[in-house]
């Protein structure tokens, strides 16, 4: 754990200083903003994934794979489409973000209920439905984006659809507050999360209001996904990667260790990866691709090792 903390600090320091030519007073604040964005995304994705895997009791299900990120982009697109881009551009980004999160909570709740409420709870069906839902959301979003006037769309795209390359810094403050608040709540729930990991029946037997806690935890997960998607766009496999690394490196079931551990690993992956790619190898913007590649490999390995039984 200490090693992870130290390593993430090193990654951050390298990110801030390496190959910084020219004016320091310009470079430092610029990089600090970017670093803050990366750290927020790392924490949000890691915490969301571990909690999601705990409440679904599975290690290959993640909110990203289940299409939550794509859902956020779809809701954003529908808002732009429905209200008109001019009006959306005039709205305070924080108010817009709040509206999007609210809508997403409703949809995620419905989706989750539809998928987990039924009598059959086949994991493979869930995963496949989740992935295809993600494709469907992304395709509908793509379709609607085509229907918006192409010129206007280009202007909007810059403002509304973020990526690792263009972290949306107007939302950084809000995002930091939201992530901190969610983490504070989860911190108080640590023992409850440990119990939820035992499964529904044991949780009830131990006196935890299982259904209510799962619903609340899912709400928090949804908020975290919304934050990370708003900052850098949808990333499917990062959560899977860091959560499973955390389980591997920290052989415990205690969330008091797992959650911060996964968050630190995510920081190392994102900040370290970005430093390596951007400064050392000088490939910008491919971090998302590399994560997709590594995360996909992890998934295949998990499947081959039979982790999905």
């Amino acid at each position: 754990m200490t090693a992870l903390g130290a390593l993430s600090l090193v990654a951050a320091a390298l990110f801030m200083t390496l190959e910084a030519r020219g004016n320091w007073s310009f470079v430092l604040p610029f990089r600090a903003t970017k670093l803050a964005g990366l750290v927020l995304v790392a924490v949000a994705v890691a915490v969301a994934t571990v909690v999601f895997q705990t409440i679904t009791r599975n290690r290959i299900l993640t909110p990203g794979i289940m299409g939550f990120g794509a859902l956020y982009v779809l809701i954003q697109t529908v808002l732009v489409f429905g209200l008109g881009s001019a009006r959306v551009a005039g709205i305070d980004p924080r108010a817009l973000f709040a509206a999007e999160v609210a809508l997403m909570l409703v949809f995620a709740g419905l989706l989750f209920r539809a998928l987990f409420g039924g009598s059959t709870r086949s994991l493979h069906l869930l995963l496949l439905v989740g992935i295809v839902c993600g494709t469907l959301f992304a395709s509908i979003a793509g379709l609607l984006q085509r229907l918006i006037d192409p010129g206007e769309f280009l202007i909007l795209q810059d403002r509304l659809f973020a990526s690792f390359n263009g972290i949306d810094d107007t939302l950084l403050g809000t995002a930091a507050i939201v992530v901190a608040a969610v983490c504070a709540v989860l911190w108080r729930w640590l023992p409850v999360l440990d119990v939820l990991a035992l499964g529904r029946e044991h949780a009830i037997a131990l006196g935890v209001a299982q259904d209510r806690m799962v619903a609340l935890a899912l709400g928090l997960v949804t908020i975290l996904v919304a934050v990370s998607t708003a900052l850098v766009g949808p990333i499917a496999f990062l959560g899977l990667l860091v959560a499973n690394l955390a389980y591997m490196l920290l052989p415990t079931a205690r969330h008091a260790v797992l959650l911060p551990g996964a968050a630190l690993i995510a920081v190392i992956c994102l900040v370290g990866g970005q430093t390596l790619l951007e400064r050392v190898l000088s490939y910008d913007t491919v971090l998302a691709v590399v994560i997709e590649f590594a995360g996909g490999l992890v998934f295949l390995l998990l499947v081959i090792k039979g982790a999905t039984r």
């Binding site: 705990t54 009791r57 599975n58 290690r59 640590l190 023992p191 409850v192 440990d194 119990v195 990991a197 035992l198 499964g199 529904r200 029946e201 044991h202 009830i204 037997a205 131990l206 006196g207 935890v208 209001a209 389980y247 052989p251 079931a253 205690r254």
Partner: protein, 250 residues
Amino acid sequence: MIAIESLCKSYDGTPVLDGVDLILPQGGVTAVIGPNGAGKSTLLSVMGRMIRADAGRVTLDGRDLATAPGSEVARRLAVLRQDNQPSARLTVQDLVTFGRYPHSHGRTTAQDRVHVARAIAYLGLGDLADRFLDELSGGQRQRAFIAMVLAQDTDVILLDEPLNNLDMRHAVGIMALLRDAARDLGKTILVVLHDINMAAAYCDRIVVMQDGRLIHHGPPEEIMTDALLSRVYATPVTVHRVAGRLVALY
């Protein structure tokens, strides 16, 4: 005292519990027996709040279990279902410590540790305490879960086929443990059993279920008869007295 009042539950129109009434006085071990699909596990699940009943209610000293706060009930009633497959990688020690959750909510006290150590010792798991559950045999894992339920230290304990996967020695050990806990500590224990001879040897009362109904309830001598068992299991059964114990042959 646990009172079950006209409990009903059906799945897709098929009744699984069909008006079950039962009163369990405090103290003593009660076995639930009956053929497959009689509704034994469903009864236990409803009593343990895992499933909601369609009608009727279960009360513990007058409080409705379905509406009472979950953690309050968990300090008075523990339940262990069949097929316990934890997805998390836990050690035996971790798992048994979870039995204390209703009492301490995750902040383990010295008193909790005493309970945990005692439960682990009771079930002879001392050497395995730091092993992960997925590294244990089925029987060892089953004992770890029973230890967790014991550590919960409740007045009422519900167990669904706790002898699954256990060898003779450990099966007898668990049954003797349950009998002693009921006699010495005044616990009320309800246990679903397939082995009617175990039920006859170690339980104070036997409840017989068939087709979602409770058809008989009484001390082992009343239940262990050729006619009753042959009818319930639709198989010729004869009961003999061997070395002072009632034994059913089938």
